[in-house]
Symmetry: C2
Subunit: 505 residues, 2 copies
């Protein structure tokens, strides 16, 4: 009898895997279409692309919520002969199912087409520097996201339901606490920095030829371990990482011909995302354990490479001589220390993606405040620009000259991604905590970085973060790696050590 049940579970589990992989095929197909939309698609291609992506979203949702699949999940939930890995997959898939079934096919389709429409509207509005062109579509999207929150259910705040999609079990309460705790020491260190003479970063703003930047970007990525047999880089207006399996990772970047920083750290940032995706267990294609843990963990990988490595003194002992070969005229006369200071200049600025590591968090906090108010119904969409500008004055003390450099700068809202921004700060905090653990656990890690030895760090990340896929949530992973929950002291200590040496306070 027990043999029969065993066989039954085995067969059922196989069916479960096949069905999830089929859903993955459809979702990844949609990802290919979206990647193409942002990299190569000609303008008129947009006329049907939205519909094509919506159809795939609808099909994926339909496949997930099929009664026959629910039955398989229910049976496997009760099965006693699954191994630990199989059980974990089933638990996570059951959770996913319960989330998916709360949304109707019609809603999924409507959300997808509204997102595509909003993205086009945002592109136009941004190009023409006119928020009003985006307002109507954004308002429709905000309303849909509020509906989504209602459908998904939440406690206390509608925004919680949306945050939960990116960062499971994270809430407004928790985020308020983190951001409140973070602001105090951040403001203190910023005041210390402001009291010192500003560093000179003018060498970064010179003409840097696009082609050479492109080659330089690929060079760093190769050195840091990106597998170009399992991925590639292309250009897009807004850098992003996507993937169509753990063996096909697409990064994008953008080039500013009068700035060295923009592409360099965008490359390293997306590289961090890409390395994570390449390190997810390939055999678990389509299964929860083949997926990333959470957005904050994803961001911890990009921020760790971008900042803890990419803006470190150590790495530039190795990279600067290489950069000087690419750009002898622009960088030939600098030295590691001066260059290190230049790339770590701290100053309030308008654009989040170009912000230094400290003021960056205020950019996130501002978006978090706006999203909370939008989803809570306190902020009408048409008042976004005014409130945005007010918050920039309040938190960063700067005046926003126009919408393009203000509330139209980020793509996220046009994608319907509300609740996404906070994971950027969480990611930076996790990055500092993880990097501290790595330094303890990998002998000679920092010394190696000065010689371009990135493999030990990558191997550590592979074994401690990547390989687990979605087995642990952010908090569990953090405790497992560092022995304690998220602790902002790691970030603040890192910041103190770093900026004390740079600004000499």
């Amino acid at each position: 009898m027990s043999l029969v049940i065993k066989q039954n579970s085995k067969t059922l589990y196989k069916k479960y895997v096949q069905h999830l992989q089929k859903i993955a095929d459809v979702k990844y197909a949609a990802a290919v279409l979206q990647w193409d939309q942002e990299t190569y698609m000609p303008p008129k291609g947009a006329n049907y692309r939205a519909q094509q992506v919506a159809t795939l979203s609808e099909i994926a949702h339909h496949l997930y919520t099929q009664t026959s699949f629910k039955k398989i999940l229910l049976q496997l939930k009760e099965a006693t002969d699954l191994n630990d890995e199989q059980q974990k997959n089933i638990t996570l898939s059951w959770y996913d199912y319960t989330q998916q079934e709360k949304l109707t096919p019609l809603f999924v389709r409507k959300l997808s087409t509204t997102v595509s429409k909003s993205f086009q509207a945002w592109m136009e509005a941004r190009g023409k520097n006119k928020f009003s062109l985006f307002q109507k579509d954004l308002a429709a999207l905000v309303k849909l996201k509020q509906q989504e929150a209602d459908l998904l259910g939440y406690e206390q705040h509608a925004y919680n339901a949306l945050i939960n999609q990116y960062e499971k079990d994270c809430t407004v309460t928790e985020l308020d606490r983190v951001f409140d705790n973070l602001q105090i020491p951040l403001k203190k260190i910023l005041a210390q920095i402001a009291a010192q003479p500003q560093v000179d970063d003018s060498l970064l703003q010179q003409p840097y030829a696009a082609n050479t930047q492109w080659q330089w970007g690929l060079d760093i990525m190769k050195q840091m371990g990106f597998d170009f047999e399992a991925g590639r880089q292309d250009k897009s207006e807004h850098p992003f990482t996507t993937n169509f399996s753990s063996q096909d990772i697409r990064l994008t970047t953008r080039i500013d011909e009068n700035d060295f920083s923009n592409m360099t750290w965008s490359c390293i940032h997306e590289l961090g995302h890409g390395l994570y995706e390449q390190g997810l267990p390939a055999a678990a294609y389509g299964l929860p354990l083949g997926e990333y843990a959470s957005l904050s963990i994803h961001e911890s990988q990009s921020r760790l490479w971008e900042n803890n490595i990419g803006r470190s003194h150590n790495v530039w002992k190795y990279l600067l001589p290489i950069a000087q070969k690419y750009f002898p005229q622009q960088l030939g006369n600098t030295n590691t220390t001066a260059f290190y200071k230049a790339i770590n200049k701290v100053a309030p600025s308008l654009i989040r993606t170009e912000a230094d590591e400290l003021t960056y968090h205020f950019h996130v906090i501002i978006r978090y405040q706006l999203e909370k108010a939008l989803m809570g119904g306190q902020l009408p969409v048409k008042e976004i620009p005014a409130y945005w500008n007010q918050l920039y004055q309040q938190y960063l003390g700067i005046t926003v000259p126009n919408d393009k450099q203000g509330c139209l700068q980020d793509v996220h809202w046009s994608h319907g991604s509300f609740g996404y921004f906070p994971t950027y700060s969480l990611g930076s905090l996790y990055a500092a905590q993880f990097f501290a653990a790595a330094k303890k656990q990998v002998p000679g890690l920092e010394e190696g970085i000065t010689k371009g030895q990135f493999q030990p760090l990558l191997a550590w990340l592979r074994n401690n973060v990547h390989i687990h896929g979605r087995r642990y949530n952010s908090q569990q992973l953090c405790e497992q790696i560092s022995g304690e929950p998220l602790n902002i002291d790691y970030f603040m200590n890192y910041a103190h050590d770093k900026y004390k040496s740079i600004y000499e306070f």
Copy 2:
């Protein structure tokens, strides 16, 4: 009562359109994945791409063969209040349905994955110049295609079922007749040419910088009317055209840095396909009337632009001065007549895509003979190389030195496309017949070409070919345009006039 029926048909027709558009979304998504596979996908991406495309194919087939959709079609077939266009769509969709329902979902999936596997095997075999590496997968594919023929049903010859997928109602009997009739005058004119001194085409084989060729290719395409807002060109190992709606056409090309011809006429050829796709009725997205008529008609468009225009004396009166600006060193010293002769050199050769307009047909006839024997079961797959080489000796009098330049040169069989090649010859024949009609109907057409006025020809093709979509089959369209069925005399007369002047016989 009649009002009720009318409303009912209207609602049903709307459902029919929605369902077909959904299927189109899925099919075009698969096309995006295939386009990416041949242009940008990194090598390891192949590991899951085959499965992703197979899943989409299976879903598209599933959607087409749903009982609920069959019911809609059956009701609309009987409806008396559809307009002419709607009736035509329903008739064609019903035919498509009857074809689709003959294939099981399992078969569709198996065919798709076998094709992807075969394509990878062919790529490797071609790279390593070794047919044996392709043999096993090709044999599996041939067997599947024979099964497909059995499932679809046929009279007289299994190959008929496959030809019918590309060229409705075309048969082995018909093709035997056309090729038999074509061979006699072709051999005669080739003998006349062989008796004359050979033309010198050495100026075409010089170093032509890749970047300049790329720009030059885009320039011609722009001049000839390709809408780059609704399409683009990329590079691939094997030039092809695909589309994701009539407003997103993707062409690809390849560049040989030591040859002017390879990319130039490949660009113009694919341009012809692209202009056809851009001219299909945009509003009929997903519907039969928004689709191309047949493969031979598709090929008539590419061959017309490539040969009747692209290799004409007239067009180079306009294009040569432009080409000379791109390549002053290589082309600065030639003149239109010498250049015209060089690009029309007739000589037996190994590679179909590089063949002249006359010997080209023998390349097709050879493949036709092979396919007929393969599908009829007279030719075992392992004997393809030997038979291929024997036929090249027999028809073209040349010795095939290796598989790469022999039976591994074309991608088609690895795609499972048996019955496709004959449409290449038919396309050239239709092109000559259509071009003769256009010259009669458009005053000053040829004179305009000498001045780079391509718009009158494109407008004629739009109105006489493109706009009809799939309304007429090849034969009907041919009769409508030229007043008679396919007649090889048009091609032979065109060939006579052309080569008599070039070879002076």
